[in-house]
């Protein structure tokens, strides 16, 4: 059994009231006045503009670039091609760890996917650089493109996602299927999707002597710094990466991408500061995407609707030159109880950029298929989808057999269903209409996402004036890092939030790891919490060991930090301000560090996941098949909520991604050329405001003593899981038509 951290009262506790409060964003004013600095807003004297030229073929060689024409264009300063690209200290194709992705940095004339950077044009103005790139008019030696999941050469990857086994099972699935009363087998397809953060990847790179400063959006500052150091053969200390605000990341800014590094190379080539901002169409290749999948689900139940077997098989695609395999089947490890479960993955290699983590990688993709299949199974059993899910509720994690560290999913089902009005649902499809005659459908899905911990560090300082400073190189990509971490920091120091300065978003602060896996608040939050605890302990020692302090001798009883004072725990009337303690000690400030990482004991003993239940209402025009997701209610149990306002926004965002997954987004890949034909925001649809008229997110109380000190599970990705399936199931319920090829388009409903 792991330690029960929250139950063991440490000798010195901090007492705060910041966590749990729905504070508005501390960076709100910056964001609503246009003053929040994003990378492309950075100004440096003498800045040049760089624009990529990208390949229009999927495979082959660049045989000619009209560099002369580009250079002749007024304002063009230089053209960077494989011939003059500055040398790198490390091969961009080297891969020494699974978190290192191969990059296209003009290392040769090969083209291995559409929209691969093949040159960079650098000019005095953006207009000149843009036209210079067009004037390069590349010629190619073209080889046939390999595109689509039917490409030859299927194989079983060694691992999927981040080192997960490609195959896993418990029990005998084939026997379960053979002996069952009811069976469902269905195949679902999900398309390639692109992160499409509103902020295109951008970099402003600036060398000063042997120092490099880059402004670039990053979900992993220290990793970006390390990658740059490796490639440029520099001491990481001489590289400063600044990313106070990301205009969205969703995984695409987890690793510094090739185009960003090309911006640095352009600065090196020209000896001038360079700004490189991707055009939207350039984001459909070198900065990652969610891989397409074809998922086959085989399910079977006994006569009572209890699952007897569940096989989730995924065929996905990676690039020809690197490995990322969408772990879509893994969702089946945790969700539903079954005596026999098997998950498996196969893959093909296609001429595309390397796929990457995209908001709920694997979970989102797998969830829409599994939740659809579960609905199909419920239907086969003649059962209400909620009743069916409750019947197959997993009391322990089905695949591993581990107990859950906490799991308030039943309560999510109950509260969500009640709030939504699930009981009014007809069992049979195509029964419900609104006053205008539109078909109405109700659908549901179970949401789940692992409660992960990575690694993070933080530093906490108490200053002589009694205020605090907390530093951690965390990342705000919209989840509200500036606010939530300040809340944790304030509580950890027993200070009002206005009394602390929170510093983040730079690589010269303590390494906060990565903002991903919905683990940033949990991990960096824990590090901050521990740093605060440590500095409070240090402060307490100064007081309790000094006979002049009213707290003298309180060492064993302990003290409580509150509102800038330490109080004796057994006699709160005896207290002293932070300032007085430091003053007496003659110290300007004291500081301590904190670190957080996975607790292997807890991770070994428990299955740790956030859960939720999403209920969706859709309306479908009976004649046209046009669909609108008119109402979504999600109930989520995700441990402790640091800031309900921010959490609501995160959950809504995820739920909208679920709507988008089910109904809107897909890259239209022309299989003849491997090219995405809708590389923009006009034709690559994501929901607009009118697509999501009513959302509601309930957070269900959940106390989890195992996940981390704070009891936080993370809410960044769970919203998309469950929601996508709920919408898909609602479309079926509205129409009676089961579409298994996502997104659900109107032609599939009426065709």
């Amino acid at each position: 059994m792991p330690e029960l951290k929250l139950n063991q009262a440490p000798a010195h506790v901090r007492h705060g009231s910041n966590m749990g409060q729905p504070l508005t964003r501390r960076d709100g004013v910056l964001k609503v006045t246009g003053a929040a600095p994003y990378a492309a807003d950075s100004k440096v004297e003498g800045l040049l503009h760089a624009v990529l030229a990208v390949s229009t073929i999927a495979r082959g060689r660049v045989t000619h670039l009209d560099v002369a024409a580009a250079k002749a264009h007024p304002g063009v300063v230089d053209v960077m091609t494989p011939e003059n690209r500055p040398a790198l200290a490390e091969d961009p194709d080297a891969k020494t760890n699974p978190f290192m992705f191969r990059l296209d940095l003009l290392q040769n004339d090969r083209v291995r996917y559409p929209n691969q950077p093949i040159a960079v044009v650098i000019a005095d103005t953006l207009e000149a650089a843009t036209e210079g790139a067009a004037l390069l008019a590349p010629r190619y030696e073209t080889e046939p493109a390999r595109a689509g999941l039917d490409t030859e050469g299927r194989f079983s990857p060694n691992t999927v996602g981040v080192g997960n086994p490609a195959e896993a099972s418990h029990g005998d699935v084939e026997a379960g299927l053979a002996g069952a009363a009811k069976r469902v087998e269905a195949t679902y397809e999900t398309p390639a999707q692109y992160h499409n953060a509103m902020e295109p990847h951008a970099i402003v790179a600036h060398f000063e002597g042997d120092r490099l400063t880059v402004d670039t959006p990053s979900q992993g500052l220290a990793m970006a710094q390390g990658r740059l150091a490796g490639l440029f053969g520099m001491d990481p200390k001489n590289i400063l990466v600044r990313s106070p605000f990301l205009g969205g990341g969703f995984g695409s800014k987890g690793f510094i991408a090739g185009p960003q590094i090309l911006g640095v190379l352009a600065a090196k080539l020209t000896g001038r500061p360079v700004k490189l901002v991707l055009r939207r169409e350039h984001m459909y290749g070198p900065v990652g995407h969610r891989a397409p999948t074809r998922q086959t689900l085989r399910l079977a139940t006994d006569g009572d609707g209890a699952l007897q077997a569940l096989h989730h098989h995924t065929l996905t695609a990676s690039s020809t030159f690197d490995d990322f395999f969408e772990p879509a089947s893994d969702i089946a490890h945790t969700l539903y109880a079954s005596p026999a479960i098997r998950t498996s993955h196969e893959a093909v290699r296609v001429d595309s950029g390397t796929p990457l983590f995209m908001r709920a990688p694997g979970e989102a993709t797998g969830s829409i298929a599994l939740e659809s299949a579960i609905d199909e199974m419920a239907e086969a059993c003649g059962m209400d989808p909620l009743e069916f899910r409750l019947k197959n509720y997993a009391e322990i994690e089905p695949l591993s057999g581990k107990p859950f560290s906490s799991k308030a999913l039943r309560e999510c089902y109950r509260q969500g269903a009640e709030r939504f009005g699930w009981s009014k649902r007809s069992l049979a499809p195509r029964q419900m209409r609104d006053a205008d005659g539109l078909l109405v459908g109700y659908g549901m899905g179970t949401a789940t996402f692992p409660a992960l911990m990575f690694q993070a560090n933080a530093k906490a300082i108490i200053k002589r004036d009694g205020t605090g400073v907390v530093e951690s190189g965390t990342h705000d990509m919209g989840q509200g890092a500036w606010t939530a971490f300040a809340q944790v920091a304030a509580d950890s120091l027993g200070l009002d939030i206005e009394q602390i300065e929170y510093r983040a978003g730079r690589s010269d602060l303590p390494d906060a790891g990565i903002a991903g896996g919905s683990a940033h608040t949990a991990t960096a939050g824990t590090a901050i919490h521990r740093a605060g605890a440590a500095v409070i302990a240090k402060l307490a020692a100064l007081a309790t060991e000094n006979p002049d302090s009213p707290l003298y001798g309180a060492g064993n009883a302990g003290v409580i930090a509150r509102e800038g004072r330490l109080h004796r725990r057994d006699d709160e009337s005896r207290s002293e301000t932070f300032a007085a303690i430091l003053d007496r000690a003659g110290l300007d400030q004291i500081e301590e560090s904190g670190a957080a990482a996975t607790d292997p004991a807890a991770a070994g003993a428990y299955a740790m996941h956030a859960h939720g239940a999403v209920f969706a209402e859709v309306k479908v025009d009976p004649d046209f098949g046009q669909i609108r997701a008119t109402r979504l209610v999600g109930a989520f149990a995700a441990g402790r909520i640091i800031n309900p306002k921010l959490v609501r926004s995160q959950l809504f965002g995820g739920m909208i991604w679920g709507v988008s997954f089910a109904l809107h987004e897909h890259a239209a890949v022309d299989h003849r050329t491997g090219r995405v034909m809708n590389p923009n925001l006009g034709e690559y649809h994501i929901p607009v405001n009118a697509d999501v008229p009513a959302l509601e997110a309930i957070t269900v109380d959940e106390h989890d003593p195992h996940v981390n000190d704070l009891g936080v599970k993370g809410v960044g990705e769970i919203g998309i899981t469950g929601s996508a399936g709920a919408v898909a199931n609602a479309v079926w319920h509205a129409t009676g038509v089961r579409v298994r090829n996502f997104p659900i388009t109107l032609d599939q409903l009426i065709g």
């Binding site: 067009a134 004649d623 046209f624 046009q626």
Partner: protein, 353 residues
């Protein structure tokens, strides 16, 4: 975007002279032209900015009762012109279903007529496209063509015209007033856009340099005001082009249709007037069966340009039938919150399965 010479002529005559030169193009708001220039699809040498030309930005009622929309009248201004919207509600509804509020604030009437297809292969300069580069082929023919044409297409080009505005204009017999090197002329909107045939690069009957001055709606067009709708099926609730659309306008006499007007959008390389369907309705008592027959007639010549877009034929029939049903039920007092959308709340429960 290539470098170009920028001219801002003071008179229409100067503009026509400048724009008649090879490589010149008119610039109105630029919401289509600049987009095409940024994509390298259009590379004009000279932009002739017409936004300051006098007299082109008004909506006037002429003595004969017709309405003249200046070529520079912004889409939003026209749609929100109360008098105009009352007389031509389907036109206003079509305008408000197009693009976004920001784009409609900029986009001009003339520019809307001349906006070019949204065929993704046309937009992609690495693809073969007869329209963009005559004789190069048509990559859409065997490509991603789910939303391509089902009427009036040729093997040379299967694209559609994306305008919403033009659809009710075609139904209502609008006339385009132009001024070209050869002087002024008038062109019925129905004859303004060209079907692809063998020369998809020829998109309209305009001669080089010919300037649109106005679009005119004849006096009869207002007689349909009480029974006019535009209906647009989309793959997103708003800010999306039509998969297919229809304008339907009825002039009722008692409980009978005296005269009907029907046009379709998103199905062909021009707004598609359905005269046979209109004829079928004249003098009849409206009911669902009649509307369905009219819809069948409207799509009688339809043929998928690829298997993937076959669904659009039946979809378009249903849209026509529904648009007629909605028109028969009467023009709503106010344009619905979701203009032209199937999700606009309908009065009278006109839906049928």
């Amino acid at each position: 975007m290539n470098r170009f010479e920028y001219l801002r002529p003071a008179t229409a005559a100067d503009a026509v002279a400048a724009a008649a030169q090879p490589g010149a193009a008119y610039l109105a708001a630029g919401t289509n032209l600049l987009d095409l220039m940024k994509g390298g699809i259009a590379r004009p040498d000279t932009l002739v900015d017409i936004t300051r030309l006098p007299g082109l930005d008004t909506v006037e009622t002429l003595p004969d009762g017709s309405t003249r929309i200046g070529a520079l009248v912004r889409n939003a201004r026209l749609a929100h012109d109360a008098g105009f919207a009352r007389r031509y509600p389907a036109v206003a509804e079509a305008l408000l279903s197009g693009a976004s509020p920001q784009l409609r604030n900029a986009a001009t009437a003339g520019g809307n007529l001349l906006q070019r297809t949204r065929c993704t292969y046309f937009y992609d300069t690495a693809s073969a496209c007869n329209k963009r580069q005559p004789g190069s082929g048509c990559d859409a023919l065997h490509g991603d063509n789910r939303l391509h044409a089902v009427l009036g297409w040729s093997e040379r080009c299967i694209a559609t015209h994306p305008s919403d505005f033009c659809v009710p204009l075609a139904a209502l017999d609008a006339v385009v007033e132009t001024h070209g090197p050869a002087g002024p002329r008038e062109i019925p909107l129905e004859a303004f856009h060209l079907l692809p045939g063998d020369a998809p690069e020829r998109e309209t009957v305009l001669q080089p340099g010919e300037l649109i001055l106005a679009v005119r709606l004849p006096p009869q067009a207002a007689e349909f005001a009480a029974h006019s709708r535009y209906l647009k099926v989309r793959e997103r609730t708003s800010y999306a082009f039509a998969v297919a659309s229809a304008a339907a306008a009825l002039r009722m006499e008692g409980d009978r249709v005296a005269e009907a007007r029907i046009a379709l959008g998103g199905v062909a390389l021009k707004p598609w007037r359905a005269r046979e369907a209109e004829a079928l309705l004249a003098g009849q008592k409206p009911d669902a069966a009649l509307f369905r027959r009219a819809a069948d007639a409207a799509l009688a010549d339809a043929r998928p340009s690829a298997p993937a877009n076959a669904f659009k034929i039946e979809l378009a029939r249903r849209i026509v039938a529904r648009a007629l049903t909605l028109a028969a039920a009467g023009t709503p007092n106010r344009i619905p919150a979701l203009p032209a959308s199937p999700f606009a709340h309908q009065t009278g429960g006109a839906h049928h399965a």
